[in-house]
């Protein structure tokens, strides 16, 4: 019986499993997807023929190496694909696979739960043809499709430029790239960004390539609305030159990534406010250990750092698990990982400065904007509830949830949580951290009520 569980078979989970297997353990590796790789190195279904170079570009060698590492591990791990971990209690995971529930006991669990796009709703964002940036990338990478014939890319961060480049390269028409971060902000961060030489150079390459191919680029723009009746017709923005209407039939939008922290929350890991990310992150030390015995975190699911950091952090956390099990340690290797992680952390700080989360966009959201797309709750309803509640002690997001049902829909606040907190804090004129964070609830994703073998978790 295995007693180390790894949740997520992306870059962090793969490198963690590798260290554990080398130490003689046989971890359970669980992933919600049918295969390993995570979102960044997602493997297309069988029968797809594009090369790794086409799929992963500059990261092809890393993708190939990670896939090869996982393939070599398959006989030595208990791999459970297509499996959702929907709850976690002390030393016990609750799973669901194809309608069947199960339980997996563990002594140590490493949560490598990954990330999703951070979005700021704007009028029209629920129209068919609007996807997250990550979603538009999955469509191309895993399905060979563009989300439309004329796609506008909106938001900020490295992913914005990467996906626009990938679309143009694959033959899609890129209507425009609209970066809400002004050029001057990015320029100010340039000296510090140079620490991440390779990553920085790739970013410059994508931007230069798009410019050379005459893709319209607008920086420091304010998005106003996505227009259309039943389908996207245009994206309306404001720049220093006034309002502009960009004709398109699809929009991909995103403002960086946010960690999927639901399982860490259900495991009772305490959270702390991160001012740079403008959100709450689960607490862990530099080894990935949390204050909860047996619970470890690695990769973008703990803090956004990208795939390279995830590989390092996954391996580092595996060593922390081996230490917890009193198994022999390779101190030279651990020192190498720690040094590499410290180098990346400095670059991450610079990236956060170059592409700050534009909280002002969330705060300025028109009242009629659908804030919660699960249940069509508007920003105005949120503001009204905040005002009504202002006389009660400690107004915070969970009270707002009770009043408006914000965060109570099927996605459990994954999308609306951060912008709702910004709106609440602005309406109450209080610091963002004082409105708190939405408490997690099991199941972390919808599961059928009539699941076979479902028992009440203790």
């Amino acid at each position: 019986m295995s007693d180390v569980a790894i949740i997520g078979a992306g870059p962090a989970g793969t490198r963690a499993a590798e260290v554990l297997v080398r130490a003689g353990l046989r971890p359970v590796v669980i992933d919600e997807a049918p295969d390993n790789g995570g979102r960044i190195y997602q493997r297309p279904p069988g029968g797809f023929t594009r090369s790794a170079k086409t799929l992963y570009g500059f990261e092809a060698a890393k993708a190939r190496a990670l896939h090869a590492a996982f393939d070599a591990l398959r006989p030595h791990v208990d791999f459970r694909p297509d499996t959702l971990v929907w709850n976690i209690r002390p030393h016990r995971l609750f799973t669901m696979r194809a309608g069947d529930t199960g339980e997996i006991p563990f002594d140590q669990a490493l949560l490598c739960t990954g990330a999703m796009d951070r979005v700021i709703p704007l009028p029209g964002w629920t129209l068919p043809g609007v996807t997250s940036l990550g979603g538009s990338q999955v469509a191309l990478k895993a399905q060979g499709c563009a989300i439309g014939r004329r796609v506008a890319f909106l938001g900020t961060g490295p992913l914005l430029w990467l996906v626009a480049y990938q679309y143009a390269k694959a033959g899609a028409i890129v209507a425009a790239v609209i970066d809400t971060t002004p050029f001057a902000t990015k320029l100010r961060a340039t000296p510090a960004l140079l620490r991440g030489r390779a990553t920085f150079a790739k970013g410059l390459y994508y931007i230069a390539w798009l410019r050379a191919h005459r893709v319209p680029i607008l920086e420091g723009a304010t998005p106003l609305a996505i227009e259309g009746d039943g389908a996207v017709r245009a994206l309306r923005i404001r720049t220093r030159r006034g309002e502009q209407r960009i004709a398109c039939d699809a929009v991909a939008l995103g403002w960086g990534l946010k960690p999927e922290t639901q399982l860490a929350d259900l495991a009772d890991v305490p959270f702390a406010f991160d001012p740079a990310q403008r959100g709450f992150l689960p607490k862990r030390d530099a080894t990935g250990a949390t204050p909860i015995p047996g619970i470890f975190l690695a990769g973008d699911g703990a803090q956004i750092g990208g795939a390279d950091v995830a590989e390092l952090a996954g391996a580092r956390s595996a060593w922390a698990i081996l230490a917890a099990r009193n198994l022999p340690l390779d101190h030279a290797e651990i020192a190498r990982l720690d040094a590499a992680l410290a180098r990346h952390a400095a670059f991450r700080v610079a990236l956060d400065r170059a592409f700050p989360f534009p909280a002002s966009l969330a705060v300025a959201m028109p009242d009629e904007t659908v804030l919660c797309r699960c249940e069509s709750i508007t920003a105005g309803e949120m503001r009204a509830a905040a005002r009504a509640d202002a006389t009660l002690p400690a107004p915070e997001v969970n009270r707002a949830k009770a009043l408006t049902r914000i965060g109570m829909g099927r996605c459990q606040g994954r999308l609306c949580g951060p912008p709702a907190a910004e709106i609440l804090a602005a309406t109450l004129a209080c610091p963002l951290e004082s409105v708190g964070r939405l408490r997690g609830q099991p199941p972390v994703k919808p599961i059928p009520v009539l699941s076979r073998g479902l028992e009440q978790p203790r």
Partner: protein, 90 residues
């Protein structure tokens, strides 16, 4: 919204039905891809009646659930199309 197939178009075709009408897609398509290659939306919001076509494509937003006869509610972006599936859009 119509998806545009840019690559991997040599895969075998798969027949299915969408709201009772015959449709085809390609082996390896998710339900989301299969539907949006044939239609302009995936579901109707039960709260505002507006058409929706998913959003995150990675199993997070929960805005692409459809009904598959005999298999119940399925999340379209993480479920692969099987031959002769009968998909009904909510």
């Amino acid at each position: 919204m119509r998806l545009q197939r840019l690559a991997e178009t040599a895969r075998p075709a798969i027949a299915f039905t969408l709201d009772g009408q015959p449709a085809t897609a390609l082996a390896g398509d998710t339900l989301l891809t299969a539907i949006l290659a044939n239609a302009d939306h995936v579901r109707r919001s039960e709260f505002d009646g507006g058409n929706r076509a998913g959003f995150c494509w990675m199993g997070a937003c929960q805005d692409c659930w459809v009904n598959v006869e005999g298999a119940g509610r399925q999340r379209a972006c993480t479920t692969y199309l099987q031959p002769d599936m009968r998909i009904v859009r909510p």
